[in-house]
């Protein structure tokens, strides 16, 4: 580890709002420099993980999460996962976890899902959708009918992002509250586009027909009609 990097990691201990961000530049430099040096990269990640496990200001943990977004591996997940339930740090934990490849990050988001309040839950759901976590479908499906409209809408969009045939079925079977219908329709259209792109015209057609029959919205009806026309091509 270079002296500058060591100093930057040390600076994180007192890095608060208003501290000169240039003090952390060696971390960014190290991210670039260690791209092809696995040992140095591991050492950098370990140094960042160690900071997450200590009592440092929120700004410092934010900065660590930003760096782990780029270089974090499964090794960082155990340090990030506990932050998901922390209202002040949950987003930045997802900032890293959403972009870390591999099943561990997705598992951490799924594990946190039932343990966090509605507002944070929306974040977990969203990140699972962006990751396309098919394994989360079973956990997301009941949330389509959640009493919190924000949670239900987030679940709908996440299921739409997963966009598998099972996801389309989950949306077809959903019994949404009135406030969630638009999100369900949008997610269904999203799913149908995926299915059509994959050559599954029949499943796409079923989805478009369901949307057409269930929505009171003209703009959504028009969208579904266009989709149905696309299924005939």
């Amino acid at each position: 580890m270079t002296e500058n990097l060591a100093k930057a990691l040390e600076a994180l201990k007192t890095y608060d709002w208003g501290t000169d961000p240039n003090l952390l530049m060696p971390i960014d430099d190290a991210i670039v420099a260690t791209h092809t040096d696995a040992a140095a990269r591991k050492e950098l990640e370990s140094g960042l993980i160690a900071v997450l496990k200590t009592e440092v200001p929120q700004a410092a943990k934010d900065a660590v999460c930003r760096a782990l977004r780029t270089i974090g591996t499964a090794a960082a997940v155990p340090a990030l996962a506990p932050l998901l339930a922390d209202e002040k740090l949950s987003h930045m934990a997802r900032y890293a976890l959403e972009r870390i490849p591999g099943p561990e990050a997705g598992q951490a988001l799924r594990d946190a899902l039932p343990k966090v309040p509605a507002k944070l839950k929306i974040g977990m759901i969203s990140s699972l959708g962006v990751r396309g976590e098919a394994a989360a479908l079973a956990a997301l499906t009941p949330l389509l009918a959640d009493s919190d409209p924000g949670v239900a809408a987030a679940a709908a969009h996440a299921v739409g992002d997963i966009a598998s045939q099972d996801a389309a079925k989950a949306l077809l079977m959903a019994k949404p509250a009135a406030g969630t219908m638009a999100a369900i329709a949008d997610a269904s259209l999203n799913c149908a586009e995926h299915l059509l792109a994959a050559g599954n015209k029949n499943a796409a057609k079923i989805t478009y027909e369901k949307v057409l029959a269930s929505t009171p919205s003209k703009v959504v009806k028009d969208a579904a009609t266009r989709g149905l026309q696309a299924c005939t091509k």
């Binding site: 000169d20 972009r99 969009h157 997963i162 696309a230």
Partner: protein, 411 residues
């Protein structure tokens, strides 16, 4: 990432293949209840009903343009700063001599109004993707200031939303058509022959912001200003809408903007890609060259054209053509109506044609900007698969395609 995410290219292909990339979409022309197709000033009940979201510097100018257009009935202002919000409402009410303009802090309340046909958006860049998509879902046509997205993934999703819902969505750079005629004309006329390359001169990219906390003005909704961006304490310089990209404005900081690369890039790169006729394409590769303390980029297009950024020895919009070699002239696209990019947007609302700065073209430009930022940030050259919207063979770069949004915001 899962396999599902690996398959998004087919969806993009699908949108192109099935006609969802066209605005008219095979349906009869959709005339909003409010729109007329003549040159006379329509009655208020027959105008295009509009509202504005984000009404600071650029938003204020856009608002004035739309407000003063006889085709428009302006009915709502949305702004998180109370003083600006009240000022804009008073401006609208003064125009019409009534108190009918509604003022909103939350854009979702404005989008829920069924009487609004179209919105214009000029919030800080980190809001654009969400607000374009939500407006499309609500059935509104959209004029969004440049740069239209803050991440690569947002680019794909705003285009999909526009096509899915058959919306007219225009990007906001008026300069692309209006400021670069001197280089557009000889390129499109064939005078310069087949084009090999064009250079763009650009300033810095945005940087991290860690300004200290200040007392937030009582009439500002700081949570709504931040929206999907990471939480940070209020500081007036963090959210100032001035046009500097070198500090003291949201344009300077990476949570909200790409800095000069996206702010001026939307203009200069938009103009360059228009001039050399690659605006419908995305690059396949961005090559970073480091020479001493100078760094410059070369974007390779699939048709062989190269767009360089800050290449030593080259000037702004310097074109490498092949004079003397034949190149068939092409008719230069123009706005659909006189009166600038805003009038083009309004005309396309009536006709359902694609505007000059159709969102897909605007996204292609801002994609170049994002690719450049990522190459600079990672300090290496990158290969880009435009169809899959992924970097090739660089998992680390693929992490930069998007960023997690602060709850409760999602795309």
């Amino acid at each position: 990432m899962s396999q599902t995410k690996q398959n998004q290219h087919t969806r993009r292909d699908f949108l192109k293949a099935t006609g969802l990339t066209t605005v008219a979409l095979g349906f009869p022309t959709i005339i909003p209840s409010s729109a007329l197709g003549n040159d006379e000033k329509p009655a208020p009940s027959n105008r295009i009903v509009m509202g504005g979201i984000g009404l600071g510097n650029m938003g204020s100018g856009d608002m004035s343009n739309f407000l003063n257009n006889p085709l428009v009935q302006y009915v709502g202002v949305c702004e998180v700063r109370g003083n600006v919000r009240n000022e804009r409402k008073n401006q609208v009410d003064g125009k019409y001599g009534n108190k009918d303009c509604k003022a909103y802090v939350d854009f979702r309340e404005m989008l829920a109004r069924e009487d609004i046909d179209a919105v214009h958006i000029a919030t800080p860049d980190h809001w654009h993707g969400i607000q374009i998509i939500e407006a499309c879902r609500a059935g509104k046509d959209v004029f969004c200031q440049k740069p239209e997205t803050r991440t690569l993934r947002e680019g794909q999703l705003v285009v999909e939303a526009a096509r899915r819902y058959g919306r007219v969505v225009s990007g906001g750079s008026q300069r692309v058509l209006e400021d670069y005629r001197k280089i557009v004309n000889p390129c499109w006329s064939g005078e310069l022959g087949p084009i090999k390359a064009i250079n763009v001169e650009m300033g810095t990219i945005s940087k991290a912001c860690n300004l200290p906390a200040e007392n937030c003005p009582a009439d500002m909704d700081w949570e709504m200003w931040l929206g999907p961006a990471p939480w940070a304490p209020y500081n007036h310089s963090r959210c100032d809408g001035n046009f500097s990209c070198e500090g003291g404005s949201w344009r300077s900081y990476s949570d909200y903007s790409g800095g000069n690369m996206t702010d001026w890039g939307a203009h200069h790169i938009g103009g360059a890609t228009f001039a050399v006729d690659v605006r419908e394409l995305q690059p396949t590769e961005v090559i970073l060259t480091v020479e001493g303390d100078k760094r410059w980029l070369a974007f390779k297009y699939p048709n062989g054209v190269e767009l360089t950024l800050n290449k030593p020895g080259k000037s702004q919009h310097q074109v490498d053509g092949t004079p003397g070699e034949k190149r068939e002239p092409k008719k230069i696209p123009e706005y659909a109506a006189k009166g600038g990019i805003g009038a083009d947007f309004l005309e396309c609302i009536k006709t359902r044609a694609k505007p000059f700065r159709d969102i897909e073209l605007a996204v292609n430009t801002v994609t170049v900007c994002h690719l450049g930022i990522i190459a600079y940030t990672l300090g290496r050259s990158l290969k880009w698969d435009a169809a899959k919207q992924q970097f090739i063979g660089d998992d680390e770069a693929n992490r930069f395609i998007d960023r997690a949004r602060r709850e409760p915001w999602q795309l």
